[in-house]
Symmetry: C2
Subunit: 136 residues, 2 copies
DNA sequence: GCTTGACCCTGTAGTTGATACAGGGTGCAT
DNA sequence: ATGCACCCTGTATCAACTACAGGGTCAAGC
């Protein structure tokens, strides 16, 4: 499989595949006589793993750890669970933070009555960090 | 006010303040005889505006637009409202995306029964993109 | 008067996770 | 033989900072 085929097979940009190889996330594949990269099924599976993990928001370093684990079938699986749990906690924290932020934004937008920027409530709200309290 | 005081007054890293000046988000302040930056109340207010907007997730370019608007009191305020509304929509989209992602992660974690990585459900779930369907 | 430490300066490089060329080589069809 | 799609390496760019290196300034204490 050439890089373009692997790209289509996994929905990954060609440049991204080369990037993953460069940072050591994917092993360097064999080369053809013309120096083209030649991939097999194992590469495809590994790249799918990486893409799916990235879609779930794992960082490259987390994925590296997960790959190390799966490369060594004797190792304890609880490590993988710990990485995933910690990531889940981070995602939940991010959702909580964005929800707070959304509430504040929702309070700000829609205040505009089409007047001049001089009395714009939106700009005013952004400038004054205490508008939350003063709103109560 | 020297840069360290402005930093403490706004909770902004000193390097970040200089960065904002470099990219033209904050005006270059007057200098003392020793070439130290000397800030006034207007600078503090502007930086607070920037920080608050950044905390709400606005990009630098969005903040630049908002600042342009507030610098020109004659301009129509609906522009500010439009920027904020679009941003609110983006935040809501991000929350929705993260919520989906959290559900998938929650399904994955806790499956580990302390066995070897060879039969790790976590690693398995990450490798197989179709585990969602196969779970049903 | 001299040192110590806190502060300030400029300029450059690093971070994450890619993406976008520039400038060239390969392979196949017409 | 000449397009055209595809591949190669290497470097630069993005956002929004952060982190030095290598130096200058200032007030306090000995």
């Amino acid at each position: 499989m050439k890089i373009g085929e692997l790209s289509r097979a996994t929905g990954t940009n060609i440049e991204t595949i080369r990037y993953y190889e460069r940072i050591g996330l994917l092993p360097a594949p064999a080369r053809t006589a013309a120096n083209y990269r030649s991939y097999g099924e194992a590469h495809r599976a590994r790249l799918s793993f990486v893409r799916h993990s990235r879609d779930l928001g794992f960082t490259i370093e987390e994925i590296r750890s997960l790959l190390d684990l799966s490369d060594d079938p004797a190792r304890d699986c609880t490590d993988a669970d710990r990485i995933a749990s910690r990531h889940l906690a981070q995602v939940e924290a991010k959702i909580a933070q964005l929800t707070t932020l959304r509430d504040e934004l929702a309070r700000i937008v829609g205040r505009c009555r089409g007047g001049a920027a001089a009395d714009c409530r939106v700009i005013e709200a952004l400038g004054d960090h205490r508008h939350c309290e003063s709103a109560h």
